[in-house]
């Protein structure tokens, strides 16, 4: 960011005083508009009917903690990365493993459908082909280089650029073809752990969260930090935009998830419970934004009612920390990855279909009993 020349009389002390005044002013401005709480506005909204979310697929195959997963745009393939150094592409319908790519680095922290990044400070893009005999690892191309580990990565909407977040405290935008650095984003004062791109309709911004407990919103073209939110009490592990692009959620080691509205420029909800004492490592919204799925270090996934601020349901099943949750692109399924080395795919059942299914089962049972007794009598 270009720095204007110092004006006459500006010293370290005068600047410090000005920064304190500005911080107070910022808080005042934000508080002026805080006329009501989100859950108060949502009081008139119907309470959610009981959710019935069940796991229907368990994907086994990784030899160690699964650190990251993502869905392919075709809605049935998933990619996952693990501490065993492998990246696997799965077909979530059939449970087939379509590709397995061994990598030289063991902590593969992030994968998005195609780019992979990890603790070797590099981010690689591996083209996937249908030819199973091709040595995919050989086609790997290094795109991003940071001075510390790469914690997260995302293709931009055009697929020609890659956005990365790093333990070196910066985010960076790279050209995939040439590997050139296009823009860097400075402002975090500690490791950046997560980033998320705004949904395409809302323009060229992204949000990042990190160990400095801050969530920053950036303009991708200018590199400017547009907005900053500091209300978490510990590392922010994950940030995710609300589907409309006007808000985002964050998951933190302080055992809370928080919801920030960008137009009101403040935190509008905190999702917490006295019984939840372990950090949240990941979060994602359902398609309508009404549900927030968050994975915790106590092995559970809490599902929050975003508007009312209450917990809708809790999902059990994983046998170790949940490292990543992602809703499928068409919104039908929830994928979750865990340190228990498995991935799970779950979806929601409408209670109506449950009763019909049970009724049909009962009919068949009755029918089979009648047939049996009839033949015996004969």
């Amino acid at each position: 960011m270009a720095c204007q020349g110092l004006q006459k009389g500006e010293t370290l002390e005068s600047l410090k005083r000005e920064s304190e005044t500005l911080k107070k002013k910022l808080e005042e401005e934000r508080n002026k508009l805080n006329d009501v709480e989100l859950h108060q506005v949502a009081e008139k909204v119907e309470v959610l009917s009981a959710l019935s979310i069940k796991t229907r697929r368990v994907l086994k195959g990784h030899g160690n903690k699964v650190l990251c997963m993502d869905w392919c745009k075709d809605k049935r393939r998933m990619v996952s990365s693990s501490q065993d150094g492998k990246v696997i592409v799965w077909d979530a319908f059939t449970l087939n493993k379509e590709h397995g790519v061994p990598l030289p680095c063991t902590w593969v922290l992030a994968c998005a459908y195609a780019p992979l990044s990890g603790l070797d400070n590099k981010c690689s893009v591996i083209p996937l082909s249908l030819d199973k005999n091709e040595n995919l690892a050989a086609k790997k191309k290094s795109v991003a280089m940071h001075t510390n580990y790469v914690s997260g990565c995302s293709f931009t909407n055009s697929d020609m650029q890659l956005l990365t977040s790093s333990g070196d405290g910066t985010c960076a935008l790279w050209d995939v073809e040439s590997g050139q650095l296009l823009q860097s984003f400075h402002g975090h004062t500690a490791d950046v752990l997560s980033l998320d791109l705004a949904p395409s309709e809302t323009g060229n911004t992204f949000v990042s969260g990190g160990c400095d407990m801050k969530a920053n919103v950036w303009d991708m073209r200018s590199g400017q930090n547009i907005q900053s939110f500091e209300s978490h009490e510990s590392d922010i592990n994950c940030v995710k935009y609300y589907p409309s692009g006007d808000a985002f959620a964050s998951a933190s080691d302080d055992a809370t998830c928080r919801f920030y509205d960008l137009r009101a420029d403040r935190e509008v909800a905190v999702y917490q419970k006295d019984s939840i004492i372990f950090g949240a490592s990941t979060c994602d919204f359902s398609l309508s934004g009404r549900l927030l799925f968050a994975g915790y270090n106590d092995y559970t996934i809490n599902v929050w009612d975003v508007l009312k601020g209450t917990r809708a349901t809790i999902l059990f099943g994983h046998e170790n920390r949940v490292s990543r949750v992602r809703v499928s692109p068409d919104g039908t399924a929830l994928g979750s990855a865990s340190w228990d080395s498995t991935l799970r795919v779950s979806w929601s059942f409408s209670t109506g279909s449950n009763y019909i299914f049970r009724f049909i089962k009962l009919l068949f049972w009755v029918n089979s009993r009648l047939v049996l007794e009839f033949t015996v009598a004969f």
Partner: protein, 68 residues
Amino acid sequence: MSGSANVVAMKKVVQQLRLEAGINRVKVSQAAADLQQFCLQNAQQDPLLTGMSSSNNPFRPQKVCSFL
């Protein structure tokens, strides 16, 4: 030398704060109403919210149904 570096860093912080203090904000009641409206408008198209019936669930186990 380190003194002037501190001042430069502080200057950047102040410039950033000036920028942030100056942005246009909307009342929370308005912002919340819009968030709520988005949720409700899209609620029917949200399969995880409404639940899926067995028939259109692509992940359902393939069961063979035969009439006795």
